[in-house]
Amino acid sequence: MERKPKNIFVQGAIEAVFIADSIQKHSSKTNIGGHSIFLGQVRADKIDEKEVVAIEYTAYEEMALEKMHVIREEIFAKYNLTCMHVHHSLGKVSAGEICLFVFTSSAHRKAAMEACNELVERIKAELPIWGKELFADESHQWKINQ
């Protein structure tokens, strides 16, 4: 099955109610036995006495969506999944808010769990997205992924 590139980007934080809706939609797919979800949340890290109040995300959107499409196809080829959904914030996301939502479903739990873990690693390593950590005094520092 050929899949079209999907937009993964959301302006601002990802709301809990959006996640609930996404879960609810899967109740009609009665071949699913397990869902695996990863949520990235913005941490109020302290750096030299200053606290991160928000992260502002930017992306090379076109390239990120093309790359995400490739990753999606590879994950679908590798794991026996029923569905896969990825949402990433752009713009400002405050500490405590959700900036990444990865959601995989499969008949048996193992595929969903392994695919979810691999997706998160690949999203962080391969998508041209950058986080700018904003401090209360309006200074900033660029986020570094470990």
């Binding site: 090379y60 990433h88 962080k124 390593a125 391969e126 041209p128 997205i129 950058w130 986080g131 986020k143």
Partner: protein
Amino acid sequence: MAINIVIFGSLTDITGSTLQLENIADTNALVSELNNRYPVLVNSKFMIAVNKKMIDTNTPLNNNDTIALLPPFSGG
């Protein structure tokens, strides 16, 4: 010959988010020119994408190519 450069992440603090340069034959020449204009760039780690494809060897540039300067990703 015009090439359009889009810049992301930490590099925007140095160069701003777009640049247009003329008469740049290839990506090696581009890096030299950028280092000339923005000496602190020498200390920055970044990759180059030409028309959204990441390159890792010197690559000739054509009119209206879009070049992107990509520091290490930090999504998620």
